[in-house]
């Protein structure tokens, strides 16, 4: 069951903030966030396992709601290097489940 990501695309100026959402119709075991630049490998950003969890590093953080059906990725004071496509990957059922990716959110940061 593929998670739904929104928005599909967003354009920012340097220094602006963005939020990317990832939703599921049923409770998740975990959410994984990746960033992929054109022609490159997806790069792991973070994983959330617990309902109500929030974590982050530098100016990129994420939350996982209490019901474990929605996660949001927060990018603050965006930099040009943040440009790329952001994917959430979700696992249902338990740690042995497969990672199912959303369709991605394309983020473009302009000078």
């Amino acid at each position: 069951q593929q998670p739904v990501q929104s928005p599909q695309a967003v354009i920012l100026r340097e220094g602006e903030d963005a939020v990317i959402n990832c939703s599921s119709s049923k409770a998740l075991y975990s959410v994984h966030w990746y960033r992929q630049k054109h022609g490159e490998a997806p790069i792991f950003l973070m994983i959330l396992l617990k309902g109500g969890e929030q974590k982050g590093h530098d100016k990129i953080s994420a939350s996982f709601n209490e019901k474990k059906q929605q996660s949001s990725l927060y990018l603050t004071a965006s930099q040009l290097s943040y440009s790329g496509t952001y994917f959430c990957g979700t696992i249902y059922g338990g740690s042995q489940g497969n990672l199912i990716f959303g369709k991605g959110t394309k983020l473009s940061v302009k000078p």
Partner: protein
């Protein structure tokens, strides 16, 4: 620590030809995955190995796709015969725990 290595990076073939991709995971990672990523979509799991055994190949089109990981390290993915709709990026990933690390992928174009 070296990342996931894949070769070739690019491949162009005609339909009905065969093609093989190679993946060398991060040292010590027992789990290896092959994903197919069609343009504009998130990666979709084809097959998962744990050491040299198949954990999940439910989404692998077995009439034309095959994969092996004979010694529990390197892996090859083969398509025979290729169809136009197989044009995609084939990503290999490996993991030791919850987090999957991706290689740069092989971009396949079937003409």
């Amino acid at each position: 620590e070296a990342g996931v290595a894949q070769s070739p990076r690019y491949k162009i073939i005609e339909k009905r030809q065969s093609v093989a991709f190679w993946c060398n995971p991060i040292s010590g990672h027992a789990t290896l995955y092959w994903y197919q990523q069609i343009l504009g979509q998130g990666p979709k799991l084809l097959i998962q190995f744990q050491n040299n055994g198949v954990v999940d190949d439910s989404q692998l089109p077995k009439d034309r796709f095959s994969a092996e990981r004979l010694k529990g390290v390197d892996s090859t993915l083969k398509i025979q015969p290729a169809k136009l709709e197989d044009s995609a990026v084939y990503l290999c990933a490996s993991s030791r725990s919850e987090t999957q690390y991706f290689g740069p992928g092989t971009r396949l174009l079937v003409l």
